[in-house]
Symmetry: C3
Subunit: 376 residues, 3 copies
């Protein structure tokens, strides 16, 4: 069982923010894509998005397009969206359903849902060609409490092992059974790390999120994970407040069987490198992050509810969805202002305050995975 | 006389498509501009476009702008659109007519239609200045059956020699006398080589061009040129079909004096590096290609007819023009999907099928002219 | 006292225009930003723009944003618009008024108008943190006859010394008392040097500015500064013309106490690197230049008048403002055509004429400050 620690008790050791190039240099982003985004498990969506055999959706990371599909046996699989013949994209649509095969629109090369090359016209008499050598290129795929993850690494570490530390926390939230009520996709003109640094501290909550700060005291709560790829903990709701909504009242049925003492908490976890999980008593919000340029990130945000909530007219999920949509936009805006300021040739790394231990720890994980030395 | 060979008889020797960088790397495109586009004859249009002395049009290749003009003696000439004084563009309009001189709009330096510097105010007493040293920079220009070609090379090989092999084929099509009924300019988000590879095989015709495949069997025909800078041959029209039009009926008078056995053929030639010539019984279509970025190409397409066709109300050139406009757009779309797929870091060169000998030979010509080794 | 010399008497020594890379290469622009724009005094506006304590406006140069503010003591100061904490932009609005402090919108770090860090929440017990070490980063600021200048250099030379040579000329124009009637901001798709070269000669006036040439003979006048960072002199107005306006009549009261012989002159000075000052009898026009890309420059243009002119209904400042707006646009257009022509790989530096000694001298100042050798 994890123990909790106050955020302000984590030693800072003279920590400084990252140097400018980490936020502005395209070559550094390329390093991050290769060493971080293509070696870690990335959250790409929910199992409910591909409920039936043949259902698929596409994932875009930088120049990569990946088909995530449920095969005939019900297994979630992922493949590069590139025909082995002349490289053409196999699917155009963002989501859809395959019949039993995946066929390239250019020359009709045909693959099974397991990636096997089944048909390749006018190749039967080629001396040096064997269909068995040209299956779709697979990307590792796995699931965790209804979430789908992919990993570009050829030999990825186990997803279950990596997230095992969160098991005792998420198990009471019934994550697998929840259903999405809404998805927003945001185009944020800021480096992806600024968005996670922002998520990792509530030092900015009073100036940036006055409505949030009235429901949940910015200095409340404690962390159970304050080092490594999973970071986070909880913040408290003020007395008389049930959740983070415009009214402070719950906008849905409880998402899980929360024990006493858990009803006035919101848990926030950043799961390296692209997954932010926010557990409220009556809904679960999650973000996924997709770097597009050094100074630009696509962010998805989903709101999951107890499926019963979505059936009952007396609940209004928009109370929570719109509250966080407003709060998200406040965050993206201030991150964009940071991005602009950091672009100055005169910017120098600044001092982290007592309340910014998690952004500091996130920065250290970035440096560790890049194999870079600390700069202070 | 060229002899014909079946496409599928050309040895493939384990041929593989080109590596990713050939389609995505701006530095490689710069090499291609310098070593291929600025050393070969480029088709830029038709003599009819500059019928009278002083008529001109502009050609744009990458950062270059070239004035193609008919001089007083009736000769077609080409000059860099850059004043020798301070580099200003001499002409802005895409086409027009000069009076007897070309005058720079900035400081009125004035050149003859042969490029001679005739006037340069306030330079008469400059010690080290002689007008004879500052003519417009010429680009080689020549014509062939009504087509205008330019060549950036200072000492280009002969155009007539290079295209002599096609003489027996094109002579019966009366190319010089034909007139353009329509021009389309397409902005294709694909590398220029993908477009020529696409033009060079009909392996994709059944999946991509169902209407075309109904008129002309995708596996029909033979090639007379299957190696080197000119590649191509003919495909057959199905019995009862006169041409490639929506109805399959001719949309104009015959373009030439075709002997028996030539009325049910369409000839397709790719003429390295930017000219695609498609000879139908009742019209001639030609494309020119202009790389703008590694992943972007401007393509012009003109449809030429027997001038008599354009005068007779019973003919409807749009039947052929619109048929190919539809077919062109199908090709651009699939090329754009290839471009997207090839951008993946995980793309690997794939195997060419029996029916893709010409794309393979085109790739070899590219590598040969770049001075690059074969990659398989 | 400066003496005047005829423009055409300045030796040219076979001068040639700059090589292509000076107009097209992003790396060369970066050198210019660092070695020229960040080491010289840049004109950024007028004191009247920040009349009261707390008034500010922002200046943008490349990736830099600078706050120019009048402090409580009335002094004009400049600071990088980047919080010392996490780099966020302190101000978003292009102009406005601070209360007594500048507060970062992200985490409420608070600075005095002198740049002192006054407040930084949750930092009081940080072992290695002293607010005195984290003031806003200052940029040098100074004023000259109502104009505000900034200098990114840590140890800039004196502005007064640098512009002292112009003192006898500008003193009679009462510059400090003038007021702006209009500002235009132009987005010019040309390198910044093309714009100053254009400003520095009237060799182009007859072809490009027929209306101007009718009021002021293009070959008239003499220069008092024909070498170094300040270049320029006067041109004459034709007899019966009072100023450069559509009608040729004055559009305002005299801007100064001009002695006899000065009423039919317009003085033009380029003040290295970004300030162009044009003194007419009845108004003063000034431009500031801001390189955005190698081939793109933001240009501001202000028209200053005797404040009494702006109060009297019988005057119409638009007569002068619109005349020059038209003339400016003629210049930007021809500069853009030069930029396009110079982009050709075949462009070669050309010969300057007898009437282009000032552009040649400006080029030499550029090369000198870059530490580059002359290319001819």
């Amino acid at each position: 069982m994890a123990t909790f620690a106050k955020r302000t008790d984590i030693p800072l050791d003279g920590a400084r923010t990252l140097p400018r190039s980490y936020f502005t240099d395209p070559a550094l982003l390329s390093q991050e894509i290769e060493k971080i985004f293509e070696r870690n498990w990335l959250c790409v969506g929910r199992e409910e998005d591909i409920a039936r055999a043949g259902d698929y959706f596409l994932v875009t990371l930088d120049r990569e397009s990946v088909i995530v599909v449920r095969d005939q046996a019900g297994t979630v699989r992922a493949f590069h969206n590139t025909c082995r013949h002349r490289g053409t994209r196999l699917c155009e649509g963002h989501q859809g359903q395959f019949s039993e095969t995946i066929q390239c629109p250019y020359h009709s090369w045909t693959y099974g849902l397991d990636g096997t090359l089944l048909g390749a016209p006018s190749t039967h008499d080629l001396a040096d060609f064997d269909k068995a050598d040209w299956p779709l290129l697979a990307v590792a795929a796995d699931t965790w409490h209804g979430f789908i993850f992919i990993n570009f690494d050829e030999h990825p570490k186990s997803l279950a092992d990596q997230l095992g530390m969160l098991e005792h926390r998420v198990s009471m939230y019934n994550l697998a059974s929840l259903r999405s009520a809404r998805q927003h996709v945001y185009d944020v003109k800021a480096n992806w790390k600024l968005i996670i640094e922002n998520y990792s501290e509530c030092y900015h909550c009073a100036p940036v999120h006055p409505a949030l700060a009235r429901l949940s005291p910015p200095t409340s709560g404690e962390n159970d994970f304050s080092e490594g790829p999973v970071l986070g903990g909880y913040m408290e709701l003020n007395e008389g407040k049930d959740s983070l909504t415009f009214s402070g009242r719950a906008c849905g049925l409880p998402v899980g069987d929360l024990p006493a003492g858990e009803h006035d908490r919101v848990y926030y976890y950043s799961i390296f490198p692209n997954f932010l999980l926010s557990l409220h008593p009556d809904y679960v919000m999650f973000h996924t992050l997709w770097p597009e340029e050094a100074g630009r990130t696509r962010v998805t945000c989903d709101w999951l509810f107890n499926p019963e909530t979505l059936r009952r007219p007396e609940f209004n999920p928009a109370e929570g969805v719109d509250f966080w949509d407003m709060t998200n936009r406040q965050d993206w805006h201030i991150c964009e202002e940071s991005q602009l300021g950091i672009q100055s040739r005169f910017y120098q790394p600044g001092p982290y305050s007592r309340r910014e231990a998690l952004p500091m720890q996130f920065d250290r994980e970035v440096l560790r995975q890049l194999g870079h030395k600390r700069h202070y």
